[in-house]
Every structure is written in structure tokens, then in C-alpha cells.
Symmetry: C2
Subunit: 200 residues, 2 copies
DNA sequence: AGGCAGCTATACCGGTCGGTATAGGCGGGA
DNA sequence: TCCCGCCTATACCGACCGGTATAGCTGCCT
């Protein structure tokens, strides 16, 4: 009677720490960090609350671990690899991001970008969590700068910055229900490439 | 001793209802709606909690009122008027949005976009609050479509959608600390205009 | 003078927040 | 066999959550 949601999809396998992180990833990604309490988290992970606090000093610590995992799984494993596999020409790789986004946005359980959710729910600019998000956005930026440079852009840093704004803008638009956001962003991106003297 | 923050900047003037809405505007805009409880709100407004619940059935109701006020003050009074005053040529008006954003982002107390904050903190797509945000974003879109059409764009709806993504993207980028986001977005926007056969 | 509407203050409700204390179960290594 | 390290379960802490009940004050209308 205590917690009806405790045992649903308990992510049973793995040691407790792994179960905690996996559960945090699912719940924080979907609902943000403010909406999920530590009791809910421990219950869903099938783990005692004390175990959680043995591995992480505070909830903020766990949130930071979640953000690291998000960079590992989303940025590196998903985005980076998919973009490199999708094409050989760097300019096409940049455009490929939006093709990737297009199928992402059309997933019925599309839940937006965890980095942006966490960024916007923290009003203190000095807070460690918000600082960490800035770092993770910077990691994505570095990837974009690299691609822009490989593509031979005149101003790789500028193109990367504009590209990232377009990415974030269409992620939010898709979250607001605009399912074709990625396709329109891709078209806009193509114009930016031309302005940099590139063609896909 | 009960509430040290109760009387700081109590927005003293006006009837209770106006004080509530003004306080909600300040607090929700800066911190989001999840971070601000009704006790804090009533305390800061210098109003009894019962008075608050006499004017609004629930906190969600108050949030909806806050969003309406945000559209009134931010979208209509601020954005719309400023853009119309800034220039006569519609294409220049579109670009003027980012010039307006540039000074907005450089305010030391820049607090981002309340619509986006509220949108991202609500994970249920059916929730009335999230539905309301979609409506407010649509209002901004309408303004953009109008400007794009006046400017003679070949595809006003498309240009408006891309423009809004650029706007949201640079709002978020600025929130992450990128102070020159608006200037770069403006440059990107100029390329989109050229692609539509327009010149500023 | 009476009355009523609007507001205030205070206390309360069950539930959840992040975080801690305590005691016991269970498995592996010596 | 005994112990120790890791985990569990449960209860607790003060604070806060959204929302309600009650009683009293104040000012305006008649």
C-alpha cells in the first residue's frame, strides 16, 4: 500500500548503483529533476533510500551523475556516432543532425532534451547543476565546431554557434508539438551552409 | 520569525488581486512555477493565502493567469510594439527582433523566457498549462507570419517557423550564458531572408 | 446603526520534500 | 565459524507542498 509505483519496471538487473543511475536516467530525462523525488527514485529502482545516499552525497550529486550519463549516452553514443555514420562529407554530416532529429521527434515517447530541461529549471546561474549543463552544451558545441571546420567553413565557430541555436530551437519547437521542426530546421541549416560558401 | 521574505518588496500598491498577479509574474518568470509555492507567493504579495484561493481555484489556475499576463506584457506590449516602432520595412522588423533580444540578453537580470520554462517543466503533453503555452507560442507565430507576409516572403509560414526556432534557440543559448547569441541569430536570420528573396 | 462583502490571521489537513538514524539480513572471505 | 561489508526496511526529522476551515477585523452602503 505504501508505494504502488515501486515495483513497476524495476530495471531488475545490475548492481544497485547501476539500477539507480538507470532509473534516474529514465525519470529525470522525462520529467526533469524537480518533479522526481528521491523516494520515488529509490522505489522505482528497487533500492533502499539509504543505499542511494551511500553512493551519492545529495540529490544534486545524483543529478550531476545523471547529466554525465546523458552526455555519454545521448551526445557521444547516439548523436556523435550516428552523425559520423550517416555520411562522409562533413557538410552532409551537419545536415544529417536534423535528419536524425526528425526521426527522434517522431518517436511517440519523444521527451525533449534533458540538458535544456535541467538548465531551465535552475534559476541560480551559479548552481553547480547549471554550470554542469553549460559544460555539456559546450561538448556538443565542440563537436559542431569540428564538423564545421572539416567542412571547410569560413568561420567554423560562428557556424557552430548558429547551428546549435537551430538545434535547440527545433528541439523546443518539437516539444511544443511541432513535429516537422527538424525538417524546417534542416532547410534553414542548408542556407547557413551556403552562406559559409559550402554545399551539401 | 515565520517568514523573513514575506515583506521584502511587497508590491504594496493595488488591490489584492493585482498584487497577487504582479507577484506571480515576478516570481514565476524568474524561478518557474514548480519552484514557487503558494505560501511563498501569498507571503511576498502581502496577501492572505485564503484571498489567493478566493480569486483562483487552484495554483494551476493562477499559472494560467500568469501566462495570460506574460502574453499581454511580453508578447504584445513589449515585443510587438517595439518591433513595429523599430522600423517601417517588414524585413527590417524581423531582424529588429534580434536587436531587441540583444539588449534583452545583456540585462544583468536576464531571466529567459517564461513560456519555455513552463513548457519544459510540464512533462504531460495534455496538461492544461502546457496546452496554454502552445497557444501563447502560436500567438507569437502569428505575429511572425504577419511580418513575413508583409515583407513579401515567398513562404511566410515557413519563414515564420524558422524564425521562431531561431528566436527560441538564442533565448536558450543566452540563458546558458552566451551573451552574443542574439547577434549571431541576427546574422543567421539575414541569410534566411535572402533565401526568401528578401533583403533587409 | 446595522449589515454585509472582502480581507486577514491562524491553524490545520494529508502528503511529499531532502536527508538521517537504526537495526537487521545476507553473502563471501578468513 | 565468525566477521565484515553491503544492502534492506522502517521509522523518523523539520520543512514545505497544495488546499481548507474558522473566526475576526475593517470599511463601505444603506
Amino acid at each position: 500500500m505504501t508505494m504502488p509505483s515501486s515495483r513497476s519496471v524495476p530495471s531488475r538487473s545490475g548492481d544497485p548503483r547501476e539500477r539507480i543511475e538507470r532509473t534516474a536516467y529514465e525519470l529525470f530525462s522525462r520529467h526533469g529533476t524537480r518533479a522526481i523525488g528521491v523516494d520515488t527514485l529509490a522505489g522505482r529502482a528497487g533500492v533502499a533510500k539509504m543505499t542511494l545516499y551511500k553512493h551519492y552525497r545529495s540529490k544534486d550529486d545524483l543529478v550531476l551523475a545523471f547529466l554525465r550519463r546523458r552526455e555519454e549516452l545521448w551526445t557521444r553514443t547516439w548523436l556523435q556516432n550516428a552523425v559520423r555514420d550517416r555520411s562522409r562529407k562533413p557538410a552532409a554530416r551537419l545536415l544529417g543532425i536534423f535528419e536524425l532529429f526528425d526521426s527522434w521527434f517522431r518517436k511517440p515517447d519523444y521527451e525533449g532534451c534533458a540538458f535544456l530541461k535541467v538548465l531551465l529549471e535552475q534559476s541560480d546561474p551559479q548552481h553547480p547543476v547549471r554550470t554542469a549543463v553549460r559544460g555539456h552544451l559546450q561538448a556538443i558545441r565542440s563537436l559542431l565546431v569540428e564538423l564545421a571546420a572539416e567542412a571547410g567553413a569560413r568561420h567554423p565557430a560562428r557556424l557552430a554557434q548558429q547551428w546549435q541555436m537551430l538545434m535547440m530551437g527545433c528541439i523546443v519547437a518539437a516539444y511544443a508539438g511541432e513535429r516537422n521542426a527538424a525538417r524546417e530546421a534542416r532547410k534553414a541549416g542548408a542556407f547557413l551552409l551556403r552562406a559559409e560558401g559550402l554545399r551539401a
